[in-house]
Amino acid sequence: MVPLFSAEGLSSLLFIVIVMTTLLGAVIATHSERLIRAVAGLAIACIGVAGLYYYLHSPFVALMEMLIYVGAVCVTIVFAVMLADPNPEEDAAAGSIFTGPLSFALGIMVFWGLYAVSGKTSWVPPAARINDGSLEEVGKSLLTNYSMVFELISLVLLIAIIGSLVLARQGRTRTGGQS
């Protein structure tokens, strides 16, 4: 047991706070009835994830997370929500009776899978400084080792845009014959 008021203890506490933020954001995002609050939850979760990255000594990714997810993706979604229907139809929630158990089972499986993987992997402690933001290094690795990942990231934005378009398209119900 590490004492709380030591460097390690405080950083562990910080870790717990960050994880709780992420989880809290995720729960808000999935469980709030108002779409706009869900997006706010998503933003909180993303900030939490950025904190995790920072905790793992990779400030570049952490800041990018903030910039892209909070600054771009969330704003895009909020924008779409503004265009969409503010009160979702009631029957949207009531799906098939299998939905609940199925998603529960799926969740258990994903959790178990992650747990198993994490147990089997031999973790290396994160280096004190993976890369202290030297831009040249970042640029080189983005265009060599991680070029695939770098390209895939752009898919996220694409999906966010498509998602907001879908929300915006189907959200509005036209009442009244004309206009």
Binding site: P86, N87, R172, T173, R174, G176, S179
Partner: protein
């Protein structure tokens, strides 16, 4: 979300109440807007928030007692309204006006027109988000107000004209002050030009924005700078001359474009034309009486129907009197220019963006108490 907004979102359009309290309406005008996003689908001005029954008041008091009411309609060019009413009654009661009095009327009315246009200029730029030109314009306007105060005794709601003449004579100090003002104002106009008129932001906001076609202006009976900005060469001072205007040489600025910029330019040019009128009138100012030799005691026009229109700062202001020979009007009808000018707003703003519609509203130069009367 509140109820109405929710309903509105379910539809494609929503209703936006612009006013009765809104920074851009300069008074208690309410415009009901049906909007599709920022685009206006329908605009309907709702009037009557400051209706004070001036016409009815005119039928319930003697001719002279209605005089102070004139300045309360359009408080920004009160003298034009005074002039309109006084001239109508003079026409009805066949009162001769000495020439000097007419010249004084023209000088003060034109000064008042400049002050009205200056205030409009400032308020219009304020509508577009620029605060500073308003105060520069006020600085200049203050000079006119001081001049007018020195002859009429009040600064805004002058009640200066009387049947058959004017209340006070002008003195040398006023003449010198007016000449000085014109000299100063001529130097000041290039500054406005550089600061506001040539500003790229303002040009982008006004050029080709808010067009009012010649036809539309005609149909709604728009007069004044609004009509002249749409290419209609109509000015009561030239086309139905009254007072001593025929003896003075001035131009009617007319712009063909019909956009907000054209209306803006008409007013800015009119300031210069008014200054020309004042200069000539000051040169030609004859000596003599300012009231008729035989004092006007009791005004009792003969039975009949009389009309007289003057060019106020906002357009043609007409007074129609029906007299049954008594010492008060049987019917008094006031035709106020802004009422007609505003009525085209609904049609003109169709499909326009909200900020453009507000620029258009500013360019109409509304004075709400005059619309409602």
């Amino acid at each position: 979300m509140n109820g109405t907004l929710q309903q509105d979102v379910n539809q494609e359009t929503f209703t936006l109440n612009l006013g009765p309290q809104h920074p851009a309406t300069h008074g208690v005008l309410r415009v009901k807007l049906v909007m599709d996003g920022e685009y206006i689908v329908e605009a309907e001005p709702v009037l009557g928030y400051i209706h004070r029954m001036h016409e009815k008041m005119g039928e319930n008091r003697t001719w002279a007692k209605f005089l102070p009411n004139c300045g309360r309609m359009d408080y920004l060019s009160a003298l034009s309204y005074n002039h309109g009413y006084v001239a109508a009654v003079e026409r009805a009661a066949k009162i001769e006006v000495p020439e000097r009095a007419e010249y004084i009327r023209v000088i003060t009315v034109e000064l008042n027109r400049i002050s009205s246009h200056l205030l409009w200029f400032g308020a219009f730029v304020l509508d577009l988000g620029g605060f500073t030109p308003l105060l520069y314009a006020f600085d200049d306007r203050e000079f006119i107000l001081d001049l007018l105060e020195s002859v009429t005794g009040s600064r805004l709601t002058y009640c200066y004209f009387r049947f058959g003449g004017v209340y006070n004579d002008i003195d040398d100090a006023f003449i010198a002050g007016t000449r000085e003002f014109i000299k100063k104002q001529r130097k000041r106009m290039p500054m406005y030009d550089a600061l506001v008129t040539k500003n790229i932001i303002l040009i982008k906001r006004l050029k080709e924005i808010g067009p009012i076609s010649k036809d539309m202006a005609r149909r709604y009976g728009a007069t004044g700078p609004v009509a002249r900005g749409s290419g209609i060469n109509y000015d009561v001072r030239k086309h139905e001359p009254y007072s001593v205007y025929p003896e003075l040489d001035f131009d009617i600025p007319v712009y063909e474009e019909g956009d907000s910029m054209a209306r803006y330019m008409v007013r800015m040019d009119e300031i210069e034309q008014s200054m020309r009128i004042i200069e000539q009138a000051l040169d030609k100012l004859p000596e003599g009486e300012i009231k008729p030799k035989k004092a006007v005691k009791m005004v009792k026009p003969e039975k009949g129907d009389y009309y007289h229109a003057v060019e106020a700062a906002r357009g043609s202001f007409g007074v129609r009197l029906v007299s049954d020979g008594k010492n008060q009007a049987y019917r008094l009808k006031l035709r106020s220019p802004t009422y007609s000018n505003l009525s085209l707003y609904g049609e003109a703003t169709k499909g326009m963006l909200l900020p453009d519609a507000l620029a258009l509203m500013g360019s109409l130069d509304l004075v709400i108490p005059e619309i409602d009367r």
